[in-house]
Amino acid sequence: MSAAPDYSERVRRLFARPEHAGDARGPVVEAARGDARVRLSAEVGNGRIERLAFRVYGCPHLIAAAEAFCAAFEGRSATELAQFSATDTIEALGIPVEKTGRILLLEDAIAALRETIGQS
């Protein structure tokens, strides 16, 4: 049995109050790796992402990163989603290196969302 690892203040805060958890009325994408799953949805209007939402089955770091992504990219254009950087997110949230794979999963979901919005 193991105890919980230590989490950064930002991860704790984002995990504790995920304001973007849920669904937006618009394109939906899902990505999965191992047992972890991410679902992103976006409400798009006038060329901008008016609302972003996420659902996650995964560790606190993934939940926190998904929340941080939604908060940062709401109100921006779909093409700007390409600016999401897993490396920057890992650094900004103080995510341990062994969790990189989880954040790359989020990156995969974001890429899929950008493509889906582009096609719609």
Binding site: S2, A3, A4, V56
Partner: protein, 397 residues
């Protein structure tokens, strides 16, 4: 979700370690402050003799708790060392007779890894599988025993699930077949009755910090029987019949002895206490959707309650449960996020095994603590399930 960093921590991880009892701390402090007791018990001067008397008294206290003769105990640093000395030491001691050994997949890592080390040294190990309830099927053990089998190691109470093995039946079978039986009793000493004068156990590991003694001190019982013995793993001074050399830590030993005496006095009341707490918590969480108990419901030490829940990830559950101090069934820090090997051996699917939470109760736990635990567990399940994506249809999984 409730990070709860400001809230009062509720410690429900007594299977990991228990705080030293006030009486234990007092006895240790008295030993540390005594002008003579600090000495090396092997020294022949007056101070050494005082320390030796304190050590002998503690040895007697521990021996009384488990129904052993004091001379049949070796002090060690804890259960991990005791397990290693018992398993590797006995395998080497009996290697001239045969090199086949038997253990159970759900043993503590200290046992698993000691056997794995012996495998690398050319011993042959049969790894038995438990039933879905965590119990060792005796027929499987019987079938595994061979002419050249020298040692069987099966724990008393499982550290993750609390499942209690029938050590009397296991030991009897081993005796009939002339095989040594080692029992890791780290989770049962001081909690369940143990009478080594009667039980067919040849080697038994224990550690003080699980029964309100100090960390860093444990013991190995070696039955005074023909053919039962260990080769030492450590070499140095001649202490403890050269089987486990090293200067004895008198204050820790005194604390262990005091904890053993307290456990002997309070065992029945402690047991009733955890029965009440375990029932109160299980009553609250068994009604939650998708929650299952891991391990046998009946043959289980009630001080440990291990539950899994569908649709929640173990590491997030653990954080959402803060300020509860509980243990998780997932190896949160690992790259793979591998779930508990114990629960996997019980046949739990990965997702359920990974969501496991072990609640373990102790002397200081109150009914209010478990009521709060039940409420927080229900709240955490509900919050995490609310943010999870819909389950993947079985056909696509």
């Amino acid at each position: 979700m409730n990070a709860g960093r400001e809230a009062r921590p509720v410690y429900l991880d007594y299977a990991a370690t228990a705080p030293a009892a006030p009486e234990v701390r007092e006895a240790m402090l008295a030993c540390l402050e005594d002008p003579l007791c600090f000495a090396n018990p092997s020294s022949v001067h007056r101070a050494g003799r005082a320390a030796a008397r304190a050590e002998a008294f503690a040895r007697e206290q521990l021996a009384t708790l488990i129904g052993a003769a004091p001379r049949d105990l070796l002090w060690t640093s804890g259960a991990t060392e005791s397990d290693n000395l018992a398993i590797i030491g006995a395998a080497r001691f009996r290697a001239h007779r045969g090199r086949h050994l038997v253990t159970l997949r759900t043993e503590h890592k200290a046992v698993i890894d000691a056997f794995a080390a012996l495998e690398r040294d050319g011993f042959e190990v049969t790894w038995l599988e438990p039933g879905a309830d965590g119990l060792l099927p005796l027929a499987a053990l019987e079938k595994a025993l061979r002419e050249d089998t020298q040692l069987v190691s099966v724990m008393h109470v499982n550290n993750e699930t609390g499942v209690i093995q029938d050590i009397e039946a296991i030991g009897s079978l081993c005796r009939e077949r002339g095989v040594l039986y080692h029992c890791d009793a780290a989770q049962s000493v001081g909690k369940l009755p143990l009478d080594l004068g009667r039980l067919p156990v040849d080697l038994l590991s224990l550690t003080a910090h699980k029964f309100y003694g100090p960390p860093g001190i444990g013991a190995l019982y070696i039955a005074p029987r023909e053919g039962c013995g260990v080769e030492p793993l450590l070499h140095g001074g001649g202490q403890q019949r050269r089987l486990r050399p090293g200067t004895l830590p008198t204050p820790l030993i005194v604390g262990c002895g005091r904890a053993a005496a307290l456990a002997a006095e309070r065992r029945a009341a402690d047991f009733e206490h955890v029965v009440t707490l375990s029932a109160a918590l299980w009553e609250r969480i068994r009604v939650l959707p998708g929650v299952v108990l891991n391990g046998a419901a009946e043959a289980r030490y009630p001080g440990i309650l291990n539950v899994s829940a569908e649709g929640v990830e173990g590491e997030s559950l653990l954080l959402a449960l803060e300020p509860l101090c509980v243990a998780s069934g997932s190896a949160c820090n690992s790259l793979s996020g591998e779930p508990s090997y114990v629960l996997r051996a019980l046949g739990r699917p990965t997702e359920l095994a990974q969501s496991a939470v072990r609640f373990s109760f102790g002397r200081p736990t109150t009914l209010a603590d478990v009521i709060e635990a039940g409420e927080r567990y229900a709240g955490a399940l509900s919050r995490l399930r609310a943010i999870a994506p819909p389950p993947v249809p079985q056909a696509l999984a």
